[in-house]
């Protein structure tokens, strides 16, 4: 009986973590959806978001959730900078989408090394009241920090979906994603939409990083890596052109990871995630919630 409740507890934790994966994948999914560009530096911008939270909280002593807003704004600017250096110069050239893979890879390497130089490879974490307070429900418990991250994840996904559907700027983003030439014909400034979309995608990654930092004990220059892979897996798993898909895919990946932790021990829990992931690729290459791939 004890074992059973322990398993339920593990699965609950991983479900919540999966929800957070949805948030870390959201920015990536948005950027991919609009400009068919992969932001290879996604995990590293997430890592910069973690450090932003770390430094604003430890140096200024402000609330970590205000730090998350700071991270959102700061990384928005960083994102636009990355876009101007690495995306815009190549995106319209032939083979441009492959080129963005490489240019953002360059950015990724640069961000990681700068972080290594500035902040050393040692893992950091900061104390906060949210991490050490727990919520109890049906005998399971979770820290307030994780519960808030989960909630923000769902709220952000709904917000981005509504932005794309209702707001003029969001409609312009969708127009660019569906037909860049047509969008230009009706007077949309396509490069500017791309700039803001990329900025928004990276800002979301930064915010995700700051939220993760409230409960994650391993803030270090290479921390982006594990979140990176989780985000990519979630985006592919969810499929193309779906915003809501990322939250469900995130939760499924989270639960799979939890089952991995139960059956394969904690250190090897990702084995199950990758096996399930490769199986899904084999059976449903368009992802769980994606539209069927059109043959080009």
């Amino acid at each position: 009986m004890f074992e059973f409740s322990a398993y339920v507890q593990i699965l609950t934790s991983y479900t919540i973590l999966g929800g957070v994966y949805g948030l870390t994948a959201l920015g990536l999914s948005l950027i991919w959806g609009v400009m068919k560009a992969v932001n290879w530096a996604h995990g590293d911008t997430l890592m910069v978001g973690m450090y932003t939270a770390y430094w604003t909280v430890t140096l200024l002593g402000i609330d970590p959730y205000i730090a998350a807003i700071v991270a959102f704004l700061l990384l928005g600017l960083v994102g636009m900078g990355i876009h101007l250096i690495a995306i815009e110069p190549v995106i319209e050239k032939p083979g441009g989408h492959e080129a963005t893979l490489l240019t953002t890879l360059g950015i990724s390497v640069i961000l990681e090394s700068v972080a290594l130089i500035l902040w050393s490879p040692n893992p950091r974490s900061f104390q906060n009241v949210y991490k050490s307070t727990y919520l109890q429900f049906f005998g399971m418990r979770t820290s307030v920090a994780e519960a808030i991250a989960f909630t923000v994840s769902i709220v952000s996904i709904i917000a981005v979906d509504q932005l794309l559907k209702r707001v003029k700027f969001g409609k312009a983003i969708r127009a660019v994603s569906q037909n860049p030439i047509g969008a230009r014909v009706v007077g949309i400034n396509v490069p500017r939409i791309r700039l803001f979309t990329f900025g928004l995608g990276v800002a979301l990654a930064g915010m995700a990083g700051a939220l993760v930092a409230t409960f994650y004990p391993n803030i270090r220059p290479l921390a982006g890596y594990i979140w990176d892979i989780a985000s990519y897996v979630v985006v592919i798993f969810a499929g193309l052109g779906t915003i809501y898909g990322v939250i469900f895919a995130g939760i499924i990946i989270g639960i799979t990871e939890g089952l991995g932790a139960i059956f394969l021990t904690n250190a090897y829990r990702h084995i199950l995630v990758y096996i399930v992931f490769l199986l899904v690729l084999l059976l449903r290459p368009q992802g769980l919630f994606g539209k069927a791939l059109r043959r080009v």
Partner: protein, 328 residues
């Protein structure tokens, strides 16, 4: 005339490469050993990544599979790596076919992401099956002697790596004009057109991935013999996968020389920077790696080799024009 100049240049370069160990010290030789090794991997990657246009970021997995196969055969069964490297290539090739079957229906970046996940899986499995691979500690190669591909001097490894690299170049030269190679390029450019002239797109891609992984696996064996040990975290890491791809792209993808040029520039550069700054500021050499990659992709999208080739043929054409003007 142009062709003779090309052959003379190649012959001079080859002679220089052959006599280099006679006057270089061990450190310089080991730098070249690594440059040739990465060049060989970049050339292997080029088969599917360049000619096939399928951007793999999981090639470190094949290095790992190759290195582990031959090392397990050597240490547990006493089979020499000279034999084991073929088993290594075949096993890596099977893994390449597997990744081809699961993910080659995906396009572009999605394929790249799937290959990353695959490489992660391989790394975790190498850690997980402790009784075969000895887990995170890895395996030391305790056997010695040339019959086990273990040499006392760097210069032997130098010639081994040089031979591998040249074999890779010759293979790609042949490959790019073979019926199969042309088919692979055709489907990279336009899958439907390729299909309509009778190329089986899916099968061609899978065979391409298999060849690429086979060669990379053999590279893994040779690398393990040079390192004298294998360890999951050393061999199968995303940094290696991206490095393989980056070297080929910077040098020039879809070319038998691109990987060689990319490697001869980037590998010594990063080793040199590491040796200067590595102790003081970890990461500084990596920044330059990132900057070079960014600059080359933005400014010279078809790579350094293609850029040099065009410059040289421009200069030649101008000279010819001038010469023509004088006689007239």
């Amino acid at each position: 005339m142009k062709i003779t100049i090309k052959w003379i240049t190649m012959a001079i370069l080859l002679i220089l490469a052959l006599i280099l160990p006679l006057f270089a010290n061990e450190f310089i030789i080991s730098v070249f050993v690594q440059a040739y090794f990465w060049a060989f991997l970049a050339l292997s990657w080029d088969v599917i990544g360049g000619y096939g246009g399928q951007f793999s970021l999981g090639h470190a997995a094949f290095v790992g599979i190759g290195a582990y196969t031959s090392t397990i055969l050597l240490e547990s069964y006493g089979i020499s790596p000279w034999m084991g490297m073929w088993a290594a290539g075949i096993l890596a090739g099977i893994a390449g076919a597997f990744i081809g079957i699961t993910s080659l229906r995906l396009r572009g970046p999605f394929f790249a992401l799937a290959t990353i996940a695959f490489a992660e899986l391989v790394r975790l499995l190498l850690l997980y099956f402790k009784n075969v691979t000895r887990g995170p500690l890895g395996m030391l190669i305790t056997q010695t002697g040339p019959q086990n591909m273990i040499f006392e001097q760097q210069s032997y490894y130098y010639y081994l790596m040089l031979a591998s690299m040249i074999t890779g170049v010759i293979f790609l030269k042949w490959f790019e004009n073979s019926k199969f190679g042309i088919g692979l390029v055709a489907l990279r450019e336009d899958e439907e057109a390729a299909e309509s002239v009778g190329i089986n797109v899916y099968k061609t891609k899978i065979i391409g991935a298999t060849i690429s992984a086979f060669l990379t696996g053999i590279g893994g064996t040779i690398y393990a013999q040079w390192l004298h040990y294998v360890r999951p975290d050393v061999l199968v890491k995303l940094d290696y996968s991206t490095q393989i791809a980056a070297i080929d792209i910077v040098g020039g993808a879809s070319s038998p020389y691109g990987g060689v040029i990319g490697s001869l520039i980037l590998v010594p550069l990063s080793l040199y920077l590491n040796s200067i700054f590595g102790g003081m500021i970890a990461g500084l050499s990596l920044i330059l790696y990132g900057v070079v990659l960014l600059l080359v992709v933005v400014l010279l999208p078809s790579g350094i080799y293609e850029f040099l080739r065009r410059r040289i043929s421009d200069i030649m054409a101008k000279k010819m024009e001038k010469g023509g003007g004088k006689t007239a």
